[in-house]
Structures are given as C-alpha cells and as structure tokens.
Subunit: 153 residues, 2 copies
DNA sequence: AGACAAATAAGAATTATTCTTATATAATAA
DNA sequence: TTATTATATAAGAATAATTCTTATTTGTCT
C-alpha cells in the first residue's frame, strides 16, 4: 500500500476505534491535510475542502481539527502570532520556520531525535515531548530577488 | 549592581539607543515583566501595572510589548492556543511547559545550548535560533491532590 | 427501513490583538 | 524655564481567530 493509502487507513481505523463517525467532511479534511504542504491553517483547509463541499463551515473545520488533534491523528503547530497550523505527520521530525515567508519546513535528523533534557529536569517533571525548532530565513527568501530578475541586475 | 538594577539599566540604555522615550508606562511594564514569573501575558502585565497606573490601556500594553520585542529587550513566547506570553530573560535558556497548568518554567543547560541542526539544513537555510522546548506535566500537577489533603488520603 | 446519538451549517458570541483619533507628554533647544 | 514638536497614550472601534448555540441532517446500528 502506498503512503497515502496507509495514512487514510490509519485515519479510518482511528475513527472507528474512538467511535467517531466517518463523515465525508472528516475524510475531506484529512485528505486536505495530507495534500497541503508546509502545515496548513484552518483557512487553507477550508479553502481546499470547499472545492468539493462548498458548504463546509469554518466551525466544522475547527471542530474536526480539534478532534483529530485530541486523538493524535495530527499535531497542532504554533502559529507565532498568526493562525494555528496543523501537521498530519505524526512520526518524529523537526521544523524549520522561515521568519520571512512563514513556511514551516520538515526535516528528519536522528541526532535531534535523541536530544534529551538534563536529569534534574526529568526527575522533577514528566516530560512527554521534546521539540527542537529552528528559525531563520529559508533558501527562497534569501535569494537576491527572483532568479530571472537577478540576471538583469 | 544587582540583577534588577542591571536589567533596568540595560532597558534604559536600549530605549535611549533606539530613540524611544522613557515613559512611566514603559518603565512600569518592563518592571512588571521582570517581577512576574512564568512568563506573563498581556493581561497579567496590565493587571500588575494597573495597581500603579489605573488608566493604562491594553493598547499601550500590547504596543509596548511589541516595541520591546522588536528591539530584543524581551522575547515573545508562544501561547499554544492561549494568549501570547513574554520573556524578559534574553540570555540563552530553555523552557518546560506544563500541559495541565500552563506554567512555563525556565531551565539552563549547556548541552542543550549546543544542540545544532544537521549540515544539510545549515547549508540551505540561515538558521538564527535553535529552540528546545519540553512539554509534559509539572511537579505540582503530578502530585496526588494538594499536599495537605494527601496526608488524609 | 427506522431509531437515535452524533455531526453539521449558520451565524452569533467571545477573545486576543490591532487600528484610529484626539489628547498628553518626554525630549530637546531657545 | 518655557516653548516646540515628534512621539506616546487612552479610549474605544475594528478586525481576526476561534468557539458556542441551536436547529437540522446524517452515519451507524438494528
Ligand atoms: Mn511537520
Ligand atoms: Mn524563559
Ligand atoms: Zn522564506
Ligand atoms: Zn503543572
């Protein structure tokens, strides 16, 4: 089975397991999450789903994203002052966020997966997640204007 | 000079250097930031400052916090769906966030300061900050009820 | 097919933050 | 010290993101 199929299958099983109904809206929202790159926000999801279900309400989008988050199907990603975004990839990975274009780019690194808090923290707190997040300027934004224009200057 | 004095001095110099006026509101807001533990939000700051300046407006609080952030006097801290919070400590340090009580607790660790992204990321992106954030349940919240009650049970 | 709990659409409500504008004031210089 | 002026402020309107309320619809299980 391909990656998309795997994800959809996990989605169906998660819903069943938790007693959630398999509605067309939920399926469309989950598919939109998988299709969108760079961690879509509720507005992105709504826009994508509207092409198929023009009457989808923002409330359903938000409610569904919250439901998915609660059962661990997706992870909410901080919006840094902008609207919250969502990540359909729940396997361990890390994020680079461009301060200029606000893209959030995934990357995978074993070394970072193994970053661990100091012992005195582990003794005091129950640590469930360790997140490493990079911020800076992405390759696209650090290029001197558009590549076509750059030749002219 | 003590730590508080040092901070206030740096604050005065930063304002001067950037040509910002040293208003009573700004001083009070900065002092409130230093006094509050666990990374206050705009509402916390407003409440603290109101005891001295009852007429401080939310707009001034937000505007001032934004100004301070821009000149690097403080750092905004993600609110995870709740209101944004602010950190008057700009020296390198790390955060543990309790998912239950929402406290954000500082800790210092040299090893985590040195966490570095993989080379292929550094080649592609200009990385300006690396944040390690822990989430979980804090010592207070994981205690079985209140300590006084615990003895009874 | 029928029953029913759960999900939805629509739009009101709430919350956090920013904007607008008229007034006040910190900094600077006469 | 006072006058000048650009900057900061208070007040409240406006905006944006998210949640809530309610009446209706629809999956799921007989
Ligand atoms: Mn991701
Ligand atoms: Mn801190
Ligand atoms: Zn970029
Ligand atoms: Zn706690």
């Amino acid at each position: 089975m391909d990656k998309l199929g795997e994800n959809l299958d996990r989605f169906r099983r998660s819903c069943k397991a938790k007693g959630f109904r398999l509605t067309p809206q939920r399926i469309a929202i989950y598919e939109a999450l998988l299709a969108c790159e760079h961690h879509p926000g509720a507005e992105d999801i709504s826009r994508a789903v509207r092409t198929i279900y023009p009457d989808i309400s923002m409330d359903t989008v938000y409610r569904t994203l919250n439901t998915f988050s609660k059962i661990g199907l997706i992870h909410p990603v901080d919006g840094h002052g902008r609207p919250r975004r969502y990540d359909p990839i729940v396997e361990p990975h890390h994020h680079f966020r461009c301060k200029q274009c606000d893209r959030i780019i995934d990357f995978y690194d074993e070394r970072l997966n193994r970053v661990s808090p100091p012992d005195y923290i582990l003794q005091k707190f129950t640590v469930s997640t360790v997140k490493v997040t990079l911020e800076g300027v992405c390759d696209q934004c650090s290029q001197p204007r558009k590549s076509t224009r750059a030749a002219e200057l």
